[in-house]
């Protein structure tokens, strides 16, 4: 049985203009010890999805099932969800300064989490907190427990958040853009740390990011999101070798890369993301898609097996599915040069 099973997750906000469906029918599983990447641009719904799983969007209506270790988190009483949060599932956010309490010493914040979830006494909790700080690479851990968040650098604060997430040995960590605010060399340190932790502890990670480089280096499997929906799901290696959704092509082609021919102009995706209060009738990506046909504007394609791809490589696209109504891009070459 999978560690986490999300089924038909829908998150709807009420706005002045009408209902905004930020997450629209998202279903996926996370296996024990797996690192799943969720990639998408602003407004794709990736962060709201993670918050919905944790039941941290009180202002929205969340529907569907979130089965974790056999229980549906969306049905549990608030009290029990709180016990799961932090101890079995932990979440790390992009901005560590706003997630840490600025007026409490770091040691106090760490030991509080440990004591709350494990019932350890103060001395044991302090020892454990110091151990965690050194695990995440903060030197002189014992002394630094007495420091306040502002006395740490941005990279160190992010490590403290990771330490806090690991404090109770969770089975699953949801990491939302956790390296985005960090400098390149510090980001490399934090990613190396996460890679080591994933390997040593068999913790499952859901890495939410807009950075395809991080997806390529850190994850086993990827979900691409667009306009609140999953549009492509594949093994990481397969997604980069054989992307099937024109939006994914667009993401890969629009990226300046350290190993590309820099005299070639980038191929941007023209247009802007859809308005989710008044979503298009058909495929959310249709009006930006160079390959769209009439059916794309008429009906939303289902998420299903991509033509000519590995089993389990799913795509929400009329053009690249093997269906009677579509499939006109089923044989299009996969490389950027050949597509252009």
């Amino acid at each position: 049985m999978a560690l986490l099973e999300v089924e038909g997750l829908r998150t709807t906000f009420r706005t002045w203009d009408g209902a905004l469906r930020a997450v629209d029918d998202v279903s996926f599983t996370v296996e024990e010890g797996e690192t799943l990447g969720i990639v998408g641009e602003s407004g794709s719904g990736k962060s709201v999805m993670a918050l919905s799983i944790m039941r941290l969007v009180p202002s929205a209506r969340v529907e569907g099932k979130v089965r974790f270790e056999g229980r549906d988190l969306l049905q549990l009483p608030e009290e029990e969800v709180r016990r799961v949060r932090g101890s079995r599932i932990a979440m790390v956010f992009q901005d560590p300064m706003s997630s840490l309490n600025p007026v409490l010493r770091v040691g106090r914040q760490l030991t509080e989490v440990i004591r709350l979830h494990s019932g350890a006494d103060a001395a044991t909790a302090t020892a454990r907190a110091a151990e965690l700080l050194s695990t995440v690479g903060i030197p002189e851990a014992n002394r630094r427990l007495r420091d306040y968040p502002h006395q740490f650098s941005g990279g160190q604060r992010q490590r403290i958040m990771i330490a806090m997430a690991l404090a109770c040995d969770p089975a699953l960590v949801l990491a939302d853009e956790i390296t985005t605010a960090l400098d390149v060399t510090i980001r490399a340190q934090v990613l190396a740390l996460l890679r080591r932790l994933a390997a040593e502890r068999r913790t499952a990670f859901v890495m939410i990011t807009h950075d395809l480089g991080i997806v390529a280096g850190m994850t086993n499997r990827v979900i691409v999101m667009y306009g609140g929906q999953m549009v492509e799901v594949a093994q990481t290696v397969d997604l980069f070798a054989n992307p099937r959704m024109p939006y994914t092509w667009g993401l890969l082609d629009s990226l300046p890369r350290m190993d590309s021919d820099r005299t070639e102009p980038l191929v941007p995706i023209e247009g802007v993301p859809p308005d989710l209060v008044h979503p298009p009738k058909g495929c959310r990506f249709a009006d930006r898609c160079r390959f769209a046909r009439e059916v794309c504007n008429e009906r939303i394609p289902a998420l299903q097996q991509a033509a000519g791809a590995e089993a389990g490589h799913l795509v929400r696209c009329w053009a690249t599915q093997d269906t009677p109504a579509g499939g006109w891009l089923a044989d299009v070459p996969r490389t950027a040069a050949a597509r252009a």
């Binding site: 602003s42 390529a216 890969l252």
Partner: protein
């Protein structure tokens, strides 16, 4: 296909802008009642370079490197503490206010956060026309026509001119910011992180726009950015900053293919590639520790506390920027040899990088 032009104007032409020994210091509030000098933060410490006409010159570095401060000091926003900035042959610290106004027209800036840098109570037409009004460049029908032309040039519909900033997406707003900068027909633009707030698909639109404008208008661009892939894509020459100093300056291709300063090499090796196979091969050089505080920078070479090659000499004397080959200079006592594995190409596996050694203690 709109290809980018071949790199760099011929070097024999005089540079459009030279920066000599630029220094930028900020006095800090006293932390106690103790008497004595106020603490001073040196954000930029003796930076020199020259930008050729028509080239894209990039400053890269991490937070606190002083790259943005350098870009602003060039435009005298605020004026530098020391050093000389010469624009088109004129020393900007010596010119009279009236002439400075005329020169300002020729030097414009594009900011990172387009919404914060545009007046949200003005329509796009007004935003783009304002600099023309200030410099008295156009009036009446001519003015409206120029605004229309500018919006078209940056890929916006002229009909959108009567809308307000909040009605636009981030990418569209950045186009408005670019149109405003172009309104006074500058020859030099400082672009401070112009695409880092944008999503990748939109970022590519703005990168292509900058490349096209530079080609069509013959603009000289100082690009300040932390995203090395973006810098590599747009630049003719690149300067790397660390803790207020230039550590390396080189032609773009040379810098990315054969970095000579250890910091540059570490920086390049740390960039993830959107390719799982290349990622599996990539061996980033993991630097230990963080950038030291600019209030108490290390003696000698500022990078020595994180450098795996540091020796006693590095603590004793600060290396100066010296030429190491055609179109390449680095400030390092022990530069990387030529032919050090490039990280910019999917290449055979790198030899394992040396493990960063703990910093060598300075001799007493």
């Amino acid at each position: 296909m709109d290809r980018m032009p071949p790199a760099a104007a011929p070097p024999e032409r005089p540079p459009l802008l030279t920066v000599e020994d630029l220094r930028m210091q900020f006095p800090l509030p006293r932390t106690s009642l103790r008497i004595g000098p106020r603490p001073v933060l040196t954000a930029v410490d003796g930076v020199s370079f020259a930008i050729r006409r028509g080239e894209v010159f990039s400053l890269v570095g991490e937070s606190g490197s002083g790259k943005s401060t350098t870009g602003r000091a060039i435009l005298r926003l605020p004026p530098p503490t020391a050093g000389r900035v010469t624009f088109d042959g004129r020393d900007l610290s010596q010119v009279r206010p009236a002439e400075m106004r005329r020169l300002r027209r020729r030097m414009q800036m594009i900011f990172q956060d387009p919404l914060a840098s545009l007046n949200r109570r003005m329509t796009v037409d007004e935003i783009v026309a304002e600099p023309m009004d200030i410099h008295g460049l156009a009036a009446g029908r001519n003015r409206a026509a120029r605004v229309r032309g500018l919006l078209e040039r940056v890929g916006l519909k002229p009909a959108w001119g009567n809308r307000y900033p909040h009605e636009f997406s981030g990418g569209q707003l950045q186009r408005v910011g670019i149109a405003r900068a172009l309104a006074v027909e500058p020859d030099f633009i400082v672009a401070d992180e112009p695409v880092s707030a944008l999503d990748v698909s939109v970022q590519a639109q703005v990168i292509n726009l900058l490349a096209r404008l530079r080609r069509e208008l013959g603009l000289t661009l100082l690009l300040i950015a932390h995203d090395l892939a973006v810098v590599r894509h747009l630049s003719d020459r690149v300067a790397v900053m660390y803790l207020g100093r230039l550590v390396e300056i080189a032609d773009c291709d040379t810098l990315f293919a054969a970095p000579r300063h250890p910091y540059t090499r570490a920086l390049l090796s740390a960039v993830p590639l959107p390719d799982p196979a290349a990622e599996a091969r990539r061996r980033p050089i993991l630097l230990e520790g963080e950038i030291p505080s600019p209030l108490a920078p290390p003696s000698g070479c500022r990078f020595r506390t994180r450098c795996w090659k540091a020796q006693a000499l590095c603590a004793e004397s600060a290396p100066t920027l010296r030429p190491l080959g055609p179109g390449s200079a680095a400030a390092c006592h022990f530069p990387e040899p030529v032919g050090t594995e490039a990280v910019s190409a999917p290449a055979p596996p790198q030899p394992a990088p040396p493990q960063p050694a703990p910093p060598q203690p300075a001799p007493p």
